[in-house]
C-alpha cells in the first residue's frame, strides 16, 4: 500500500517546525526534545526526569496535532499491521529506545545537530535496521505490509 505522492513542501515545512521546537526547547529550557525520553519522564519510567514538564510537552504535542489537523491539513493514518504486529512493534520500540537512549527525535533531530558521535552511530543503526526490516517483510517474505 503506497500513499499518494506528496509535495516535498509538506515534509520540509513540518521538519522546520520540529527543528524550531527542538531549538526553542534547548535554548530556553536547556533540554533535548527526544520523544522517547519525554514519554518515559511523563509516565514516571525514567530515573528522575522532569515529569510535569514532560507531560506538558506531550500535552502540547497532542494539541498541536489536533490544531494542525483541523486548520492546515487532514492527516491520513494508514496502518496495515495486525494487532500482534502492533503489540510486538510497540514493545520493541519502547524497550529499544530506552536501552539506546533515544529515537528519531533525540538521536536524529537533536543528536545529529550537535554532531554527537553516539547519535550518528545510533541513527545509522536504526535507519539501516528499519530499511532492512522493510526489505525482508516486503521483498523476501512478500507480505503486503
Amino acid at each position: 500500500m503506497s500513499p499518494e505522492p506528496i509535495s516535498f513542501v509538506w515534509p520540509l515545512a513540518g521538519g522546520l517546525l520540529v527543528g524550531l521546537s527542538a531549538a526553542i526547547y534547548l535554548l530556553v529550557n536547556g533540554r533535548v526534545t527526544g520523544i522517547s525520553g519525554l514519554t518515559a519522564n511523563a509516565t514516571g519510567l525514567s530515573r528522575g526526569g522532569p515529569r510535569i514538564l514532560s507531560l506538558t510537552f506531550i500535552g502540547g504535542l497532542l494539541g498541536g496535532a489536533v490544531l494542525s489537523a483541523a486548520l492546515v491539513r487532514t492527516p491520513e493514518v494508514q496502518i496495515t499491521s495486525n494487532l500482534w504486529l502492533l503489540i510486538a512493534g510497540g514493545l520493541i520500540v519502547g524497550f529499544g529506545t530506552r536501552w539506546g537512549s533515544g529515537c528519531t527525535s533525540g538521536h536524529g533531530v537533536c543528536g545529529l545537530a550537535r554532531l554527537s558521535r553516539r547519535s550518528m552511530v545510533a541513527t545509522a543503526v536504526f535507519m539501516v535496521v528499519a530499511a532492512v526490516t522493510v526489505f525482508v517483510i516486503r521483498h523476501i517474505l512478500g507480505w503486503g505490509l
Binding site: 527543528g19 527542538a22 534547548l26 509516565t43 506531550i58 498541536g64 512493534g89 536504526f126
Partner: protein, 139 residues
C-alpha cells in the same frame, strides 16, 4: 511557570510538525524505508528541514552559559559507543520497520482516534516499563 509555557509551545510546534510533514502516516514512513521498492523519498525533507533550526540552536548554545529559563543545560554527556546504544538502536529500527511508527508520530496519531495508535502506544509504554524493570533495575 515560564518553563511550562515553553514546553507547551514546543509541544504544539512538534505535534504540528508531525501532521504537516506526514510523518504521522505509517504507510508514508514504510514507503520511505522501502529503498529497494517504490521508494518515496519525501520524508528525507523532514530530517533535512529539522536539522536547520536545530543545528543553529546548538551553535548558539555554545555562546550561552545557561539556558534562558533554567539554571543549567541538561543535555546528554555520555560519549561511549557501547552495546546498549547499538543494541537499543537496532531494536528500535526493527520495531520502526515492522509498523512504521516511531514515538513522536505514534503519540500524534492518537489524536486521529485510530485504534492501532492506542495499541501501539500502550505497547510502547509497556516496553519502556519492561526496560525499567530489567536492564535499568540497578540503584
Amino acid at each position: 511557570m515560564s518553563r511550562l509555557v515553553v514546553a507547551l509551545i514546543c509541544g504544539l510546534l512538534f505535534g504540528a510538525g508531525m501532521v504537516i510533514s506526514d510523518m504521522i502516516n505509517p504507510a508514508r514512513v514504510l514507503a520511505f524505508l522501502d529503498v529497494t521498492g517504490a521508494w518515496d523519498p519525501a520524508l528525507a525533507f523532514v530530517m533535512g528541514g529539522a536539522l536547520v533550526p536545530s543545528s543553529a540552536a546548538w551553535l548558539i548554545r555554545r555562546r550561552l552559559n545557561a539556558p534562558m529559563a533554567a539554571d543549567a543545560f541538561h543535555v546528554p554527556e555520555n560519549r561511549t559507543i557501547d552495546l546498549p546504544l547499538v543494541g537499543g538502536a537496532a531494536l528500535f529500527g526493527l520495531g520502526w520497520g515492522l509498523v512504521g511508527l516511531c514515538p513522536g508520530p505514534a503519540l500524534a496519531a492518537l489524536t486521529t482516534g485510530a485504534w492501532q495508535a492506542f495499541v501501539f502506544v500502550a505497547a510502547l509504554v509497556s516496553g519502556m516499563a519492561l526496560y525499567r524493570l530489567t536492564l535499568d533495575r540497578g540503584s
